[in-house]
């Protein structure tokens, strides 16, 4: 087992973050990483730091909006929420991903 982390493609991470935020409540960065870990059944565990460039990029593009608030344990944290444009982007990227995955699956099936 090598030590090299499983690096997610930039676009894929964006998709996961958008999806996570689409589930409703605003979340902070750690919360998003926890949720992704849960939803992927612990496959995607390392390189949590890669989340932050993604979050800032999404914020810069206007797909998420952010504001500072108090966390569960009353610490200051930055909370992200999905914007309307972000919701549209999520739909587009999900469709794209599914088409891509389907194509790869087809190729892998042929012997």
């Amino acid at each position: 087992m090598t030590d090299r982390p499983t690096e997610l493609l930039q676009g894929t991470l964006d998709l996961l973050v958008l999806k996570t935020l689409s589930l409703g409540t605003p979340m902070h960065g750690w919360g998003i990483s926890q949720r992704i870990r849960q939803m992927s059944r612990d496959v995607l565990t390392v390189n949590q730091g890669s989340l932050y460039p993604a979050l800032h990029r999404l914020e810069e593009r206007g797909w998420v909006s952010a504001e500072w608030g108090a966390s569960e344990n009353n610490r200051a944290a930055k909370f992200y929420r999905l914007s309307a444009a972000g919701r549209r982007q999520l739909a587009e990227e999900t469709a794209l991903w599914q088409r891509l995955a389907g194509a790869i699956q087809l190729i892998l099936q042929t012997t």
């Binding site: 960065g29 390392v46 932050y52 593009r61 930055k78």
Partner: protein, 874 residues
């Protein structure tokens, strides 16, 4: 709309960069703490929990930087950081920085100064309204005169339709009694339309109008701004006042704006009254004509019309106009066109210099990049990315260029001053040359170009090179790849080529100057002092003028140190002060066949003063006065033309010199004189005794064994003693006049020579740098060779061969370039052709010698290499 949001985000990020950084840090800190807390809940110790959290996070610094990058403000922050870093690294290598900045300063400064001169003289339009419509009209015949005969001018005025305004002037002077003594002010007698041709109105009063030309007795005058200020104290009420000029009252009707006199000529303008003599004069051409074209008429159309009119006039007046053409030239062309070839050559030369400077800086940058390659490779590996490193390089290059531009402006400032003082005096716009905003812009542009060029080669190298190679263990210095070596050699070779080109150009100019000076002039210039008078006013009759000149020459003979004294109506190297051409026909010729000749009235020992030898016959003496028979002395050129193979002494000819033809007997033949200029052939000339053609415009000449300049003052005083109220003008020595006539050539030679020397130095330095570097890289190879038995001699030969080969190729290219480029210099050369072999050979030889000298040091260093040390070197 999205872009607006993004733009706003970037702006905010830029504005509050610091605060956003702190927020990001807090955000990441929060994440780590939450993760650590979760780990503790899962049972880890606090230390392990923290460690695991960090591990799961991945490199904090890396993700933080990337998060900041994705904020979108990074480019600006990075630029600031690059600039700071660039400045620091330039400071750390002061020698290299100084060399690069100095080279750039020279290149940029010289380019800016020369470009400024070219632009001002050639490109900028004359400061008159619709200046492109102003033309000069000249009369041309077989002899090539430029002035127009009055009758022809009047016919033009009547018949030509191409012109909106047409005017003419003759050179004149007005005597003015200033508190310091009498003085002669250069002026112009103008026809009615002349001042209107330029479309400039007076700053006070008005220009001359039709009413001023009606009555010959009404003396009205227009002042120039200079005269108004210097002689009349800028009196605001001067219009309408009478001033005393030429011992008579003249009414001032207007004052022209500043700068007008410099371009139009003359410092006073008075009406030229067209009397009967004027209207009839078709043989003597003494008018300078200018005109303004009608809107929509091209120069070619006007030329065509004038050609037709000239042909009609030739048919109407075959005796005078048979071979007369009327030509039209745009005024700008007329005034400045002669300077074009020289200025373009200078522009080309400075472009070469600029290229050499850029090549030098590129080489410097490349050498530095190679030395820092390891450091740059590490930066690239740490995530800076290749483009980032190149951007760093570009910033450094831009900083160098910026410093070079600032220093270059200082050089340009100085260079402009030099051009103004040394430059040819008769380029009318040159004295306006100054470092203005436009030139500053040129300097900035030049430095930007230099930065781009200089950074390109190292950048290309970085792009192609795999940075991993640089980090190979054990490599202390990076060996340059073949492409880099080739690039460096090409740069240095290019410098050599350009240096050869400039040297050849300067050499050709130098030889031309030498050839001119060595030319048989026909007269001596050492120890001769001269000054002119216009005696018409003070000695109104012929008899009185003849007597005055005779007396004046007598007086001048008695001056201490004077060896000979004389007077002439036309002096070589000096401009004309009065009529100086005549027509003549030999006894027995049909009356229609008058030929033209240069005509001079002489008095005293004029021929001796100028050292003009007498070939046959005798000089003039006392018997050749107004009462005696008409006599004439001719020069060899005229003798050859009029009486080939015969002895002219004793022959008779009819000479019309500013008067009706007079029969004269040839009493002597003198040697030819290059009167028009050192590079012109001698023209056939007739000399007439002043007593028999008593013109009032004479130049007194005195020869002394000592210093001519000190004689000038005494001459002036002697002439003032004779006629206290008559001013003298054109005080000069013949040596001074000679220098002035060569001034333009000397200027071109100095500038081109200076460029050539700088280019030579830069090329030598460039060669030294390249060979030095190359030899350093071959240390190991040389060590091996020496270990295998090569002697010091062989190593030296090895290095010299490498350098020599590069320089030889460069020199060959330079010679080829010179062969192509010097063609454009043809009009500037005298006595040498553009492909003069000795000059080409000498240019190449000098540069090769310099390159050889530059290779010598590295060669000797290489020869002293200790083989064992060398083999241990990486």
């Amino acid at each position: 709309m999205r872009w607006l949001h993004r733009f706003g985000h970037r702006l905010r990020a830029l504005w509050r960069g610091g605060r956003l950084d702190r927020e990001l840090d807090a955000e990441l800190q929060f994440h780590l703490e939450m993760e650590a807390a979760a780990n503790e809940r899962a049972g880890m110790t606090p230390a392990d929990a923290r460690g695991a959290a960090l591990h799961a996070f991945g490199g904090v610094a890396r993700w933080r930087d990337e998060a900041r990058d994705s904020r979108g403000v990074a480019p600006l922050e990075e630029l600031a950081r690059d600039v700071r870093f660039g400045l620091r690294s330039l400071r750390k290598a002061p020698g290299y920085t100084a060399a690069a900045v100095a080279t750039l300063a020279l290149g940029i400064g010289a380019t800016t100064a020369i470009y400024g001169a070219v632009d001002r003289v050639l490109l900028e339009p004359l400061p008159f309204p619709a200046a492109e419509r102003i033309v000069a009209v000249r009369q041309r015949n077989a002899q090539g005169s430029a002035l127009v005969a009055p009758a022809n001018f009047l016919d033009l005025r009547e018949r030509a339709t191409a012109f909106e305004q047409l005017g003419a002037f003759i050179y004149f002077s007005h005597d003015f009694q200033s508190p310091e003594g009498p003085e002669s002010i250069e002026s112009r007698l103008v026809t009615e339309g002349f001042l209107r041709v330029f479309g400039v109105g007076a700053q006070l009063g008005r220009v001359l109008g039709p009413e001023d030309f009606v009555d010959a007795q009404r003396r009205v005058i227009v002042l120039s701004d200079g005269v108004w200020r210097e002689r009349f104290g800028a009196d605001p009420a001067i219009v309408g006042r009478a001033v005393t000029l030429d011992l008579a009252p003249w009414t001032v009707v207007g004052v022209m704006p500043p700068g007008y006199e410099r371009l139009v000529g003359g410092r006073l303008w008075a009406p030229l009254v067209e009397d009967d003599d004027f209207r009839r004069e078709r043989a003597g051409a003494y008018l300078t004509v200018a005109a303004r074209l009608r809107p929509g008429i091209t120069v070619e159309a006007a030329a065509a019309e004038l050609g037709a009119i000239a042909r009609v006039l030739a048919a109407e007046h075959p005796r005078t106009n048979a071979d007369v053409e009327l030509v039209v030239t745009p005024l700008k062309e007329q005034l400045l066109g002669g300077a074009r070839p020289a200025l373009l050559v200078l522009l080309g030369a400075v472009a070469c210099l600029f290229a050499i400077a850029c090549a030098n800086v590129a080489n410097l940058l490349l050498a530095r990049t190679l030395r820092r390659e390891r450091e740059l490779a590490i930066r690239a590996a740490l995530g800076a990315g290749r483009w980032r490193v190149i951007r760093q390089l570009a910033v450094e290059s831009a900083l160098l260029a910026g410093l070079g531009a600032v220093a270059g402006l200082a050089v340009a400032f100085w260079g402009v001053r030099l051009i103004r003082t040394l430059g040819p005096a008769d380029l009318p716009r040159l004295d306006e040359l100054a470092v203005d905003t436009r030139l500053v812009g040129v300097a900035v542009l030049a430095s930007a170009l230099a930065a781009v060029v200089a950074a390109t080669v190292p950048a290309l190298r970085l792009l192609r090179h795999d940075v991993g190679d640089a980090l190979k263990a054990g490599a202390r210095t990076v060996a340059s790849g073949r492409a880099t070596r080739a690039a460096r050699a090409a740069l240095a070779g290019g410098q050599v080529a350009l240096a050869v080109l400039l040297l050849v150009g300067a050499g050709l100019l130098g030889r031309s100057l030498r050839a001119l000076l060595d030319q048989e002039r026909g007269y001596r210039t050492d120890g001769v002092a001269t000054m002119s008078v216009q005696a018409w006013q003070h000695y109104p009759t012929r008899a009185r003028r003849a007597e005055y000149v005779r007396l004046a020459v007598e007086q001048l003979r008695t001056l201490p140190g004077a060896l000979a004294a004389g007077a002439t109506s036309s002096l070589p190297l000096a401009g004309p002060i009065g009529a100086d051409d005549a027509t003549y026909s030999r006894e027995g010729d049909a009356s229609g066949e008058a030929a033209r000749a240069h005509a001079v009235a002489v008095a005293g020992d004029y021929f001796d003063v100028l050292g003009i030898p007498l070939r046959r016959g005798r000089r003039f003496d006392r018997t050749d006065d107004a009462a005696g028979p008409g006599v004439v002395i001719v020069n060899e050129a005229l003798a050859r033309r009029a009486w080939p193979g015969e002895d002219p002494v004793g022959k008779r000819m009819r000479v019309a010199f500013a008067a009706a033809p007079v029969v004269r007997e040839v009493v002597g033949v003198v040697g030819d004189v290059r009167h028009e200029g050192l590079d012109r052939e001698p023209t056939p000339t007739v000399f007439v005794p002043h007593a028999q053609a008593a013109t009032g415009a004479m130049i007194f000449t005195v020869r002394t064994a000592g210093d001519a300049a000190s004689l000038v003052k005494q001459m002036r005083e002697a002439l003032f003693a004779l006629t206290p109220s008559m001013p003298v003008a054109d005080e000069a020595t013949l040596e001074g006049l000679l220098d002035d006539s060569l001034r333009e050539r000397r200027f071109q030679l100095s500038v081109l020579g200076a460029f050539a020397i700088v280019a030579l130095l830069l090329a030598a330095v460039g060669t030294y740098g390249v060979i030095s570097q190359a030899t350093g890289e071959r240390t190991r190879e040389i060590g091996v060779r020496m270990a295998l038995g090569a002697r010091q001699r062989d190593v030296v030969a090895l290095v010299m061969r490498q350098g020599g080969g590069m320089a030889a190729v460069g020199a060959a290219l330079g010679l080829l370039g010179a062969a192509a480029a010097t063609r454009g210099m043809r009009s500037m050369l005298f006595g040498v052709g553009p492909l003069d072999p000795p000059t080409l050979a000498a240019g190449a030889a000098v540069v090769l010698a310099a390159a050889a000298a530059a290779c010598w040091l590295p060669a000797r260093r290489a020869a002293r290499i200790d083989p064992t040390d060398a083999l241990r070197t990486d």
